[in-house]
Amino acid sequence: MDLKKLLTPFTAWGNITKDPVTIKDPFNERPGADRYRGFHKNDIDQCIGCGTCEVICENEAIDLVPVSDSKDGDSGLRPMIDYGRCCWCALCVDICTTNSLSLSNEYTWVSTDPEDFRFVPGVDKKDWDNNEKGWKKPDNYEFYSLKRVHMDELSPEERSDSFIEMMKGYSKEQAQQEADRCVQCGICTATCPAHMGIPEYIKAIRNDDLEEGLRILYDTNPLPEICGRICTHKCETVCSMGHKGDPISIRWLKRYIADQNPSEKYKEILEVENLQPKGKKVAIIGSGPSGLSAAHYLALMGYEVKIFEKLEAAGGMMRYGIPEYRLPYDQIDKDIDYILSLGVEIQYNVTIGKDITLDQLGKDYDAVFSGTGLHLGRSTGIPGSDNKHVYASPDLLRWIVEGKEFEVPESVVVIGGGNVAMDITRSMARLQMVKYGKVQVIATALETEENLPADLEEVVEGREEACIINAGWAPVEIEIKDGVPTGLHVVKCNSLFDSEGRFNPQTDPNVKEFWPGTMIIESIGQGMDLSYISEEFKTKLEFGPRGRVQTDEYFQTGVEWFFMGGDIIEGPDVIHGIANGHKAAVGIDIMLNPEKN
C-alpha cells in the first residue's frame, strides 16, 4: 500500500479554518441577474391584447382576460399567467408585438393560496412591478420581420409626366413574404369599417390559396381591386406590427389577391352562378362605393337591382375623384363589371329629381338606397376666392377624367393638405410636365408638417414629383390683377384647435408669405348636394348636425323605403361607403322580409 496515497487526502482538513462559501438566506438577499427570467411584468398601457403571447406559449399557461373596454387598436384583453404551467422560457416576451411584456428578476414569492399564482401582470399589482431588471427582448433579435416588403414603383422621372399606375403590385414572392409577417391577431378587423377578414385573407396568401382569399374579400367588400389600391387603410394604423416596426401592408395584399384572380373566373370562384330571384326590386341612386356595395349584396340575396347614375360612367368619386395613376380605370371596371354580371342594371346620365322624382322611384321600387356622395367643392371664402380662375378640386379632377379641355397654367397654388389636395396637386404637376416640361405647383396646408391629414406616402411621392408642399400656413387673400389671380397671400398658422379641441386656427400675421400662381385650386373638403330630394320629402327626414340626414343602424331614414349611406352619412372614404352599402342591403332585406327575421 502506498503510504503517500493513504495520507494525501487528509490535506483536505486544511479547509477547516476557511470561511464557508454558502449564502445565508434569508439574511442575505440574492437578487436575480439582470437578465433573470422571473415573474412577469406587463405595461398595460402599452399592451394591446393582441394575444401573440398566448399563441406562442407551448405550455398553455396564458389566458386573455378582459380588463377594459375594447377600442380601436386594443382588444381590452390582457394576458393572465398561470404559474402552475409557466416554464419561464420568455418566448412570450420575445414575440410581444408591443414590447409591453417582460419578466422581472424576482424569483421568490410565497403564498399559501395556490390561486394567487394566477394573475394578470400589470393589472394585479405585485412587488416586482417596478423592478428594472429582468428579461427583456434582446436588441437585434426578432421572431418576425419588422420591415415591410417594398413594393416596386415607377421612379419619379418615369411617372412625373404620365398617368400610368405608379405602384407595380406585389409579386407572389413579395406578397408571401409580407403575409408571413402577420401575427394573425385580428386587431385590425374591428377597426376596418367593413370588418374585413384581414388575418384570414392574409393567411390565404401564405397558403397560396388565392381563390379562398377572394371569397374572404367578397364576404365583406365587393370592390377589392379598388380598395386594394386607394383604401384609407385604417386597419394598418392599428396593426399590432406597427408598434415595433412597419404595419403589415394590408392594402397591397388585398390588391394582390384581386389582381391574381382573373375576372372571368370570379363567378365560379365566388359560387354565385345560381342566385335565387326574390321577385323584389330595389333602386339605387349613384354608382359610388356605397351604391355598388348595396347593389352587390342585394343581388346576392336575389333582388332585382337598378342603379341610376348621373354621369356617363359608373364609380362615382372612385372614377371621377381619384387620379388614374393611383387607380387605373380598367381596375375600376373589373370590380364594377363583376357586380353588373350578377344581374345589376345601371342607367347612366339620369338625374334624380330632374329626370325622375324620388317619390316616383319609391312607387316603382320596393326600396331605394341613395349614396350620392360629396361632389361639391367647399370654398375658403377669402377675398378673391370668387374669381373664375379659382377652382374647386372635385370639378378639376372630374374634368381630367372626362378629358375636358382647360387651360393648364405654368404656376398653380392648391389650398389644402388632405389626400384630395394631394391628388389635384400631383395631377396638375403631371399636366404641367406634359405641357411645359417643368412643374410649379405649391400646395399649402393649415396643418403642421407632422399633422398633415394626407397620407405620408402621398406627401413624400408628391415632393418626389417636384410638387412643393408647405405645411402650417393659413390662406388670407388671393391677389387678383386684371381679373386673373397672381398668387396667394398666406400667414403662419401655429395651431389649429383651442384648448377645448374646437377648430380655431391661431395665426401669426407678422409671418407672411406669397405663393405665386395664376390658377388657384381650393381643396379643403367637399359638401353634399341633396337637391334631388324635394322640400316636401325633406320634411319626412330628420336632419342632424352639418345637415346630415339621420339614419338608424341599417341606414334606414324616416321614410321606411328610403335608405341613405356613403359619404353623405359617414366617412368620407371608400371603405365606409362599402360598409354602409352592405349594411343597408341587410336593412332592406330585413324590412322587406319581416316574417323571416
Binding site: A33, I56, E58, E142
Partner: protein
C-alpha cells in the same frame, strides 16, 4: 497499480451460478442462494429516476436488468404538435443536467432543414454556452465519481464552483438550469458587460480546484483500489455496444464529434481530447478530469477569439407560420457524455414530423450497463452507473 478486479472474473467460480450458453447466470431463486433487490427508482446512487433489478448472491451481482420509464413524458410525440420555436422549451427538458446540447441539436436541425445561416457571433456564443454546460457537468461528475464511493467532500467543492458557473449562465441567459439560450436562427443575447472578466475569474478557481481533487481523489488509496479494474470496457466493445465520449476514450478509442465533425467554430480552437487505454472506472474518471481541464482551456480560447459584437440571430420566417420543406437530418454534437444526436424529420408543415433523440445513455445504460454489472459488487453499482454518465431522461424521453 492495485490488483484489478478484471482478473477475479476468471478465478474459481464454483460458488457462483453456472452460466448458460449466452454467458447469463442460471439463477434459481428458490435455492435461497440468491436475492432479488431493486436499486431505484429513487436511490442516491442512481443518476436520475431509473431502477436496476439486481439478482445478488452474497454481495455480488449475478444478473441485472435495467428498468426505465419513470420519467417518460412522450416528448418526441409532443414535439410533433409544436411549432418549431415551441419545440425549444420542451426539448431542453430532454436532459436536465446538460440542456444546452438539446438546444443546439434541435436548433441546428431546424436551421439545416430550413436553410438558415447562423451569424458568426451567434456561433461563438453557442459554443461558449455548450462548453460552459460541459464545465458545470464535469465539476459535479469528476468529484462525484468519488462520491459514489462515499467520498462526498470533493463533490461539495465541485458543486460550489458549479454554482458560480450557473451564476454566469444566469447572467448570460437568464436561467440557471434551463437556459433557453440557443434558439433557431441564433442565440438570445450578447455577453453582458463585464461577463468575460467575471467568468475568467471563476475559471481560476477551477485551476486551484484541480490540484485539490488530485490530492483528495486521484492520490487516494481507497478511490484507487475501488475504481481500478472496475467495470472494464475492452476496446472491441466500443463500436459493438455503441460507447461514446469519455467512456470510449477511457478504452483507447478517440471519439469526439468536435474533432471528427467539427461544428460551430471548433475547427478554430486548439485542443486534443485525452485518451487512455485502461478501460476501467478509474480511467474514465481520469478522462473526465482531463476534459475538465480542457474545457477550461477551451472557454479561455473562446473568450479570447470570439468577436466583440455581431448579429446574434439570423432573420427567420415569422415563427408562428414557419414551415419547413419535407426532409430529414441527423444533427449531433459532443455532450459531456459523448455523441448527442437528434434525428429530425420535417414534412412541409409548421411542425416537425418526427423527432428522435439519441443520447449516449440509451446504449450505455441498457445492454452495456447490464453486462458490466454482472459479477460486480453491489456497493459498486452506483460507481459503475456514474462512470457511464447515465441520464435516464434521454433514454425514455
Amino acid at each position: 497499480m492495485a490488483k484489478s478486479k478484471l482478473f477475479t472474473m476468471n478465478e474459481d467460480r464454483s460458488l457462483y451460478p453456472e452460466l448458460d450458453v449466452n454467458g447469463k447466470p442460471i439463477v434459481d431463486l428458490t435455492s435461497h442462494k440468491y436475492v432479488k433487490i431493486w436499486q431505484g427508482p429513487q436511490h442516491p446512487g442512481v443518476t436520475g429516476n431509473m431502477s436496476l433489478e439486481l439478482t445478488i448472491s452474497g454481495d455480488e451481482i449475478v444478473e441485472s436488468k435495467t428498468h426505465v420509464g419513470y420519467l417518460h413524458r412522450a416528448f418526441e410525440k409532443l414535439l410533433e404538435r409544436r411549432l418549431f420555436v415551441q419545440c425549444m422549451p420542451t426539448s431542453i427538458r430532454l436532459c436536465v443536467a446538460e440542456p444546452d446540447t438539446n438546444e443546439y441539436v434541435i436548433s441546428n436541425a431546424i436551421e439545416e432543414l430550413g436553410n438558415i445561416e447562423v451569424p458568426e457571433m451567434a456561433q461563438w456564443l453557442r459554443m461558449l454556452s455548450l462548453e460552459m454546460a460541459r464545465l458545470q457537468v464535469l465539476l459535479r461528475q469528476v468529484p462525484g465519481q468519488a462520491g459514489t464511493f462515499a467520498l462526498g467532500l470533493g463533490y461539495q467543492w465541485g458543486s460550489y464552483i458549479r454554482d458560480l458557473i450557473l451564476d454566469s449562465f444566469e447572467e448570460l441567459t437568464g436561467g440557471r438550469v434551463y437556459h433557453m439560450y440557443i434558439i433557431p436562427g441564433g442565440v438570445r443575447g450578447l455577453l453582458p458587460d463585464g461577463f468575460k472578466a467575471r467568468l475568467l475569474e471563476k475559471l481560476k478557481l477551477i485551476d486551484e480546484f484541480i490540484p485539490k481533487i488530485d490530492k483528495l481523489i486521484f492520490n487516494n488509496v481507497v478511490f484507487e483500489s475501488r475504481a481500478r479494474g472496475l467495470a472494464y470496457i475492452p476496446k472491441e466493445w466500443v463500436d459493438e455496444y455503441g460507447i461514446y465520449g469519455p467512456a470510449s476514450r477511457g478504452s483507447g478509442v478517440s471519439r469526439d464529434v468536435r474533432k471528427t465533425n467539427p461544428y460551430l467554430k471548433y475547427d478554430q480552437l486548439d485542443f486534443e481530447p485525452f485518451v487512455t487505454t485502461e478501460g476501467d472506472v478509474y480511467a474514465r474518471t481520469e478522462v473526465r478530469r482531463a476534459d475538465l481541464i480542457m474545457t477550461v482551456d477551451l472557454i479561455r480560447q473562446i473568450l479570447d477569439k470570439m468577436p466583440e459584437k455581431g448579429d446574434i440571430k439570423a432573420e427567420t420566417p415569422n415563427v408562428l407560420h414557419w414551415k419547413i420543406p419535407k426532409g430529414e437530418t441527423y444533427s449531433k454534437c459532443e455532450s459531456s457524455r459523448g455523441e448527442y444526436g437528434m434525428y429530425f424529420v420535417t414534412d412541409g408543415s409548421a411542425m416537425p414530423r418526427r423527432v428522435n433523440l439519441k443520447g449516449p445513455s440509451y446504449t450505455h445504460a441498457n445492454a452495456l450497463l447490464d453486462k458490466l454489472l454482472i459479477n460486480a459488487n453491489i456497493a459498486d453499482t452506483a460507481a459503475i452507473m456514474v462512470s457511464l454518465a447515465t441520464c435516464p431522461p434521454e433514454i425514455e424521453r
